[in-house]
Symmetry: C2
Amino acid sequence: MNASTLGTSVPQVNAKAKVLGRAQYAGDIQLPGMLHAKVLRSPYAHARIVRLDVSQALALPGVKCVITGEDGPQVPWGVHKKERLTFAKGVVRFAGEEVAAVAAVTEEIARDAIDLIEVEYEELPAILTPEESLDPDAPTVHPGRVNNIAHEIRYHRGDVDAAFAQAHLVHEATYTTHAQYPGYMEPMATVATVDADGRLQVWTSTQSAHLVRGRLATVLGLPVSQVRVIQSTTGGGFGGKIIEDANSLVAGALALRTGKPVRVVNNRLEDFMAAPSSLPERITLKLGMDREGRIVAKEVRIVGDCGAYSGLAPEVLHVSAMRSDNMHRNTNVRSHATVVYTHTPPHGAFRGFGGTQMSFALNSHIDVMARKLDLDPLQVHRINAIEAGQTSVHGWKIGSTGLQECLTQCTEAIGWKDKRGKLATSGTRSRGVGMAAVMHVSGNRTIGNWDGSTVMVKLNEDGRAIIHSSEADMGQGAQTMLCQVIAHELDIPLSHVHITLPDTDSSPWAIGSLASRVTIVAGNAAIRAGQAAREKLVTLASQLLEVPAEQLECAEGMVRVKADPSRKLTVAELARTHIWRHGGEGIQVTGSWDAKTEMFDKETIYGNISPAYSFAAQAVEVEVDTETGQVTVIDSYVADDCGKAFNPQAVHGQSNGAAVQAIGWTLYEQLQMDNGRIVNGNFADYTMPTPDSVPEMRSGIVESMDPIGPYGAKGASETAILPGAPAIANAVFDAVGVRIHDLPITPEKVLAALRARRQGDTHA
Amino acid sequence: MNASTLGTSVPQVNAKAKVLGRAQYAGDIQLPGMLHAKVLRSPYAHARIVRLDVSQALALPGVKCVITGEDGPQVPWGVHKKERLTFAKGVVRFAGEEVAAVAAVTEEIARDAIDLIEVEYEELPAILTPEESLDPDAPTVHPGRVNNIAHEIRYHRGDVDAAFAQAHLVHEATYTTHAQYPGYMEPMATVATVDADGRLQVWTSTQSAHLVRGRLATVLGLPVSQVRVIQSTTGGGFGGKIIEDANSLVAGALALRTGKPVRVVNNRLEDFMAAPSSLPERITLKLGMDREGRIVAKEVRIVGDCGAYSGLAPEVLHVSAMRSDNMHRNTNVRSHATVVYTHTPPHGAFRGFGGTQMSFALNSHIDVMARKLDLDPLQVHRINAIEAGQTSVHGWKIGSTGLQECLTQCTEAIGWKDKRGKLATSGTRSRGVGMAAVMHVSGNRTIGNWDGSTVMVKLNEDGRAIIHSSEADMGQGAQTMLCQVIAHELDIPLSHVHITLPDTDSSPWAIGSLASRVTIVAGNAAIRAGQAAREKLVTLASQLLEVPAEQLECAEGMVRVKADPSRKLTVAELARTHIWRHGGEGIQVTGSWDAKTEMFDKETIYGNISPAYSFAAQAVEVEVDTETGQVTVIDSYVADDCGKAFNPQAVHGQSNGAAVQAIGWTLYEQLQMDNGRIVNGNFADYTMPTPDSVPEMRSGIVESMDPIGPYGAKGASETAILPGAPAIANAVFDAVGVRIHDLPITPEKVLAALRARRQGDTHA
């Protein structure tokens, strides 16, 4: 017996704190003298600020500070393109853009003061669609950006034209996807203050404390060491809390200006306007297949809409364009992808990071072509799937893949063989099944030439451990995973391991939670940290027991002689003695791990960017009401190849949550815009799936035991969101024979398609 | 040029925060829902608690919790003897002992509730002096402690009797010393709370976060890992805030009981009752000297009074008995020291840690005997002083000593040669000069078999550093010293180094600030941490510049080729690249150092307990008003051998502060007791020296460049308090010919002695 919980379902280590309401989110923080801030946002998609008068706001009793683009931070920010000011200056580029902020003694006064700021705008013509953006006569969102292009990718590998020419079947179609709001429980929130030494101290809801620190320092003109960022308990991120919103900058700027603690908590409407939503794309996909369904050529054209500021959208575009190429054996690929500016709220990182968009197109396309070839799409997926040991068209080295098993699991679970094309219609209700297969990264060498992490462990004299890591837990389970690793490596109970929230002063450098990187990268770092701690214990035990280290084992909370377990010292005794002896010191060690991957090369765009790749497949059964057009998911099973499930319950949670988020995107959620302005920025009108709108979600775990992953594990947070939309679209086709190319699959579109099909039938 | 501030006077790194009122002391902490606690203390020195009724207190609106000995923590605490409960149970043993505590929504309500607690005491006979304690018929303060003896030390080295028999002069006298209240600006203060995960989190004013953590865990029944202690800015400690008071235990117990933040801040009267004051001792000293003043034999008998609980008093007693033996070449020493319980507030650790008491006796004695031998005591000190390279009678290895130079400096400064015995009397005012010489440790292997420290440095990508250490700065400058070391090792500006307050979750294990250990122990650890960081920088620079590491130097904020300084990389560039590269990681390193000293052996009491030894000498000029008996210090010069002064201004601050504290103890401060109760527990009646009662303090630095100390440095916080009392007593004798054996030297005692001398003269 050992104490390890690896592979066992355990509650999240921070679950109790959350359930009992004790977890401290940024918005819960109360500091003496704390001010409350509100942000004035542009009501126009595009306008010139003609006059901005804050005098009445400043005169309101209780108002401590008003800050605008004129007197606010003048250093522009942005992930790659430094193009956005904390507060708009001269011109606003989207409805919702930060124009000014007020800090006051209460939130109510701050809100009232916002209303007292007089802004005179001269409304300007707004570009609201990528088509308008690309019009050569269109005005530019940012001066000097030709055709409003924020980023463009072109690649060509193999001989696409020749392959198309030889293909048995070529099919081309265009798909469009819409923006999804991240919809986390906790909106963006920050409390910033100036500490006793004049340093800026920030608690914020984030996926990356160190990236936030770096941006705050740059924009606010401080050395990074003068900024301390502590990740407060974070209630969901889904990509929206990486680094694309201004919340922490507003708080930081106001704290520096006032010298007081300042709380900036978005309400839901503000969050809808401020958070990046996912990147809408128009994807034209052309595939060539041989008679057996093998993809022999692929051509992709994408136009994405990043909104007014590009943020992470260029990276998202890369993923949309390229990632799915790597899941297939096909070596002839050509792509031209463009992301353009519009005068709309910024779009960027979102769970799946561009994968959902292309997955919709590609899996829909495969279904269409399989039907044309009279093949089961399951077989088409199988025949095309890349295998472990292979290197993909873009140089990705597939160390492990459980895709075949995922395909088996989900189709068997859903009753694929018996149901596909065979489900009976009952009155106006038709049922059908659909499926999709996807891949994702587990880490990505993208931000800089590093995809590493360092984990620090302090082993206390009670034999318990405290972990410091800057990898963020925003609900996905990173903290639990790290605790499981350390508990496993030291073979102590999980309850004996505590993990602190990221704190840039004390936690080691880490990139944070994105690209499904934490389990594989920080998990491996944690193994090394645990090993380093264990080595110290064993070395000391070897001295004390006078037994060579190799004859000892660290197990069950002690170090003991393998051949005579009665000769032992507890971890507590050893940790204590490690201090209290000649040359002693407390055990406080770090472990680092950096993926041996290749930095994204802008020229070749070739190379193994991730240490491992996750796969998933999903099959669904839907019911379509042909009278109302309503699509209902009846059953869903997503099989997730996460390498090894540390905590199956957590993987199921991720898979099911992701699958529900995919259902929302596919069927229910849609940002309604009026002249560039979000008009349904609340949870009553922005209809995220409720429990009664989804079936009992089912998911399966496939353990492909990745050779590089910690104990074989890979990322499991994002993959499962990828297949939902096309699986549903394909099921809708299976049910009622209409193909929806444009998300979301609204009743109106289904009815229209049914009508068109009937008219087509009539015409036939 | 380099950026090092070593040897330069710089302001304390935390001075600005303190001066601007920004530093956060424990009492400044405000947490949402925080309760305020007050402690009910025994009014009797010894009594049985017959009845304790908290019902009325509990019924007072706003009261959230009342805790007593019956329902409070049942685990006794104490440094060595676990003999004290957080709240007295059944019996109280000193006036001021904690009987109950109330937590309420305001401090006023808590205070009112304290008044509503009904306690019926049966007063018991109280032992108020050590003489009573040692009476075989006396009751015992603690059951089972024979003769009320808390601790006893006996040793005999050499042949004391034979040496006395051969001595030219033998003199014996008895001296008594009184308790001094530490008198820090900030009374004991703690805020404790239960964090989101149910862990106890404590901010407290302390000299040792880790010792506080350990005691909280033990007494409150938690694993240490479930307790997090953060040292808040601490406004003075002087030994009183090591681990002998109950403040943090009260806060911790109430926080656990209520689940809410609880603030416990002593007011000054409470602090007088709760803080350990210094150990009163009755010292009988017998010295034998040869004709030239060489000490050839020494016999010491000490009875100390630890009060109701022994705390650190046994360790203090060891110092009183033994330490001064090591400053002389004499090898014949015999000692019998006893510390006994009385029903008085506990006495224990205090700056100098027992050294002041024996210094008073020994330096007075040397002055007496020098006069008898018609020698200048300066010469007696010189002839007896141990030298560098010698091993003392107790096995202490003297690596460095600047005592001869200290003696020279202070006597020259004061005009010793011209003034001793030669100062004119003006009316009723007589002047005289006196001097004394002392030694102290720099570290002490006493708490366990470890006297080490670990310092962690995080080097940020702006080339600046953040230090984590658990060594406490309570005003003495530990934080500045550590910052200076790291700035020096990396050759970056001092302003580019930030140090955090000790936090047991993240700061490495350290014992804390006691035994003048921090500069030498943590200073050496910091050098190693700085070297480790530098090595990482140089290794990386070597790779990047393609130059062997040994041809590189880390200087002026960069690593450069020694032979071609134009080839360079800044520390910032290197720190950044250390992350962003293949196999990268943030630079976060630790350095540990443990003194190669010997653990205090209870049998032999022999061995080198400290890595280095500090020396000091002081000369003063006093004026005695023969009409009033008032003694005024006219001039004072203390020369401190601190090895190497990192920060001369800080050393002078320590020396001058210590010398003033010695003046207070010698002339002004006296705890007035009425039946065991402190009756002058406030700064109006407990008369600490005010600026108008001391001269402009003068001090000198002697740099003996210790071979083990960091850059030659030794401790400088305590030594300078040791010589003040006997220097003044000797000066009083020089002025008016009376010898005061009993501290403090009050006008009444001086007048009485003058009267006795006149009567003696009359009789003569």
